[in-house]
């Protein structure tokens, strides 16, 4: 299946050639955390996961066509 991914600024460093928005092929039954592993996104650098524009969790099951955004930790300043 394919999921749409958006990775906000600071998190792009883990996939520098993919850019900000891209599509990923991932096997059926995968969860958000599997996608994070595939993209090598360290969990402590991710502030929020959005699944189809709502707050998502690492445990959430993915289905074909899902749009997943990863927001990096920002902490003031």
């Amino acid at each position: 299946m394919r999921v749409k991914v958006k990775v906000y600024v600071d998190l792009q460093r883990y996939n520098p050639d993919k850019g900000e928005e891209f599509t990923v092929e991932i096997k059926e039954g995968s969860r958000v955390k599997d996608l994070m592993q595939l993209l090598q996104l360290p969990e402590h650098r991710v502030m929020l996961i959005l699944k189809n524009e709502r707050i998502g969790k690492e445990e959430d099951l993915l289905v074909d066509g899902d749009a997943i955004s990863f927001l990096p930790v920002v902490g003031g300043g």
């Binding site: 600024v9 360290p42 969990e43 920002v74 902490g75």
Partner: protein
């Protein structure tokens, strides 16, 4: 021998035109380090309670630290401190750039300014000397013009200048002080204090090298940091602080429409990435810093922007952008430039204008009150016009120049509900409903709503995110929305950490968890610089000392528990964005505040520090001041 500092404090009385030099003993430096803490050491001794913040009796202090001006990234901040005309309590604000380091090279660690000049003056500080000079010809001029004139007049292009603009002269309550036209002591209205003293600028120049105890070790630490630092193409250095606006919006935490919602549909348009793609012409930096997060921008008509004033930071793109529902980046850059020209704090201006826009939308203000300006949200032309009117205190601008608290009082008719401030200090651009420690931070910060009391909650949600702060003894991750006792303890520890960084004038973006400098390395660096056999324990005690001294300062002025509160809006649910419905529960907030007071060694109900705590911190000398509260 003094290492890291000069051992000299410059004292200037503008009323009598007397200049003198004080040489405090080493223990004063070691106990108070610099910044807000050393400033409070003087303010608590020399400023009479209930002084008029805009009267000659107020004392304005410019304070570096035992560490500022060194070659490591981030050691460039200085504090401006006085009684604040916005809060009537302790006012302080830090600025980076080059002015602080230059003051140290000129031979002084701080300047204490008293009195009021009879006509406009500026101060010229160079090579262990200082003189008060006439500034009548500079009064009323824009900041860039003043900088150029002074450099010409004094015949040196490398003179660093901290100054106010016309807004400070006109006592706009949130006027700022700027150095190099783009590094700003923004908060607390200290520009108005400087204006009330008729002091337009302080020009500094020096050639002194700061003596360091162990140069080799200090340089080794800097080298290590430099080598391990990666200038990430999507990080702070490349995209600036404004890169976080779209992230916060997507996360439901971008202050939008006067904090009614946390989502702004044009957030991408005002973010750092868009800035880089459109108006960015270069990156700027501060003394000794390789991160280079400052912006330089240029825009063409109709919003022609002069790059000399730098580019907007995150706080600015939110305060005069999303908070007002303005998504035009060129107009925001123009607003940033105008605030720099006139010397206005962009944050306070934005929050004040958002208050006026909401009052206008709700019919409390009409176009009759606003001199015909159509103050609907999103009107960027009106935003630009208001900056000029505020700076000149012209018509409706005169009302806005008072800040949201006082303006709301004058307007009445329930306008207070839309005035988002704490202790009179307008809210900065971070959303406590999405990161609960910030609710406590805003409420108990001695300077009123301040977003730099602690690194915010999202850093510490996962075990791996805690590694950076393990040296503080924080071992359990907590969700951002947690507001338990554990969150309060985490806040107490982190607040003392930031109070210490503030005391040594270190930029938070260079220290963990933001930047490359690990906590224990900062201690190691401090040892190498000062030669003191110091430790994290001793340094955090300075942080705590600061919190207690600032608390006593405010109590003397009549600010206490009743003022440690949040504007009602933050207790209401967010109306939009992914955190829709999130609010600060008043009960939870009251419990957290009580827990905070108790953990600080203060009375859990009244928030008054116990004399035992003050004695423990070796500031027993302020105990008698408590009885005067």
């Amino acid at each position: 021998m003094a290492f890291g500092y000069n051992g000299k404090i410059l004292r200037v009385d503008l009323s009598t035109r007397k200049i003198s030099v004080e040489e405090p003993e080493e223990k004063v430096y070691r106990r108070y380090l610099g910044g807000g803490t050393l400033s409070l050491y003087y303010l608590l001794r020399e400023l009479k309670p209930h002084s008029d913040p805009l009267g000659p009796e107020n004392i304005l202090i410019f304070c570096t630290s035992v560490m500022s001006g060194l070659t490591a990234p981030g050691f460039n901040k200085y504090t401006a401190a006085a009684k604040s005309p916005l809060t009537s309590g302790f006012g302080e604000s830090e600025a980076g750039g080059w002015w602080g380091p230059e003051l140290k090279s000129a031979g002084f660690d701080a300047i204490i300014i008293k009195g009021k000049a009879s006509s406009p003056v500026y101060l010229w500080v160079h090579d262990d000397q200082a003189e008060i000079r006439d500034a009548s010809h500079l009064w009323g001029k824009m900041t860039a013009e003043v900088q150029e004139s002074l450099r010409k007049e004094l015949g040196d292009n490398r003179i660093r200048i901290a100054q106010i603009g016309p807004a400070g002269e006109n006592l706009v309550r949130y006027a700022c002080i700027l150095n190099e036209l783009k590094h700003v002591n923004g908060r607390a209205g200290l520009g108005a204090v400087m204006g009330s003293k008729k002091l337009r600028a302080i020009a500094v120049r020096g050639k002194k090298n700061i003596e360091v105890f162990n140069r080799e070790s200090a340089l080794g630490i800097v080298k290590q940091l430099r080598e391990s630092y990666v200038d990430d193409p999507s990080g702070l250095g490349q995209l600036g602080t404004a890169r976080v606006a779209p992230i916060l919006s997507a996360g439901g935490m971008l202050p939008t429409k006067n904090f009614i919602t946390g989502f702004f549909e044009k957030a991408e348009d005002i973010g750092g990435k868009r800035m880089k793609e459109t108006i960015l012409t270069g990156r700027g930096t501060c003394h000794g810093c390789f991160i280079r997060c400052k912006r330089e921008v240029k825009a063409e008509k109709p919003y022609e922007v002069d790059p000399i004033y730098g580019g907007p930071e995150y706080e600015t793109v939110a305060a005069i952008g999303s908070l007002l529902e303005i998504g035009n980046l060129e107009a925001i850059a123009k607003g940033n430039e105008l605030c720099g020209k006139y010397g206005i704090d962009t944050i306070s201006f934005g929050t004040t204008l958002a208050f006026a826009m909401e009052s206008y939308e709700k019919g409390i203000l009409t176009s009759k009150d606003t001199d015909g300006l159509d103050l609907k949200f999103g009107n960027h032309e009106a935003m630009l016009e208001c900056i000029e009117r505020v700076a000149r205190r012209e018509g409706f601008g005169d009302l806005l120049a008072e800040g949201p608290e006082m303006a709301a009082k004058k307007i009445g008719k329930g306008a207070e509900k839309f005035a988002l401030h704490i202790k009179g200090q307008p809210l900065p651009m971070h959303e406590p409903r999405g990161k609960k420690s910030l609710a406590l931070a805003y409420a108990v910060s001695p300077t009123g709503a301040d977003h730099l009391e602690n690194p915010h909650d999202p850093f510490f949600e996962k075990e791996a995110g805690l590694i950076d702060i393990h040296p503080l003894g924080i071992l359990d991750p907590l969700p951002s929305l947690d507001f338990s006792t554990h969150k309060v303890r985490m806040f107490v520890y982190l607040q003392q950490y930031y109070n210490w960084l503030n005391s040594i004038g270190m930029c938070i973006f260079t220290a963990k968890p933001f930047g490359p400098f690990p906590i224990t390395k900062i201690v190691e660096y401090s040892r190498a610089i000062t030669g003191w056999d110091t430790s994290l324990w001793e340094m955090l005690k300075v942080g705590e000392r600061f919190a207690n001294m600032a608390r006593v300062f405010n109590l003397r002025e009549g600010l206490g528990e009743k003022d440690d509160r949040l504007p009602e809006r933050l207790h209401q649910p967010l109306e939009g964005g992914v955190l829709k419905g999130e609010r600060i529960d008043p009960e939870e907030f009251a419990q957290a505040r009580e827990m905070y007071y108790g953990m600080m060694g203060w009375d859990p109900q009244s928030g008054v520090p116990s004399k035992y705590k003050l004695e423990e911190l070796d500031i027993g000398w302020i105990v008698p001041q408590l009885s005067r509260t």
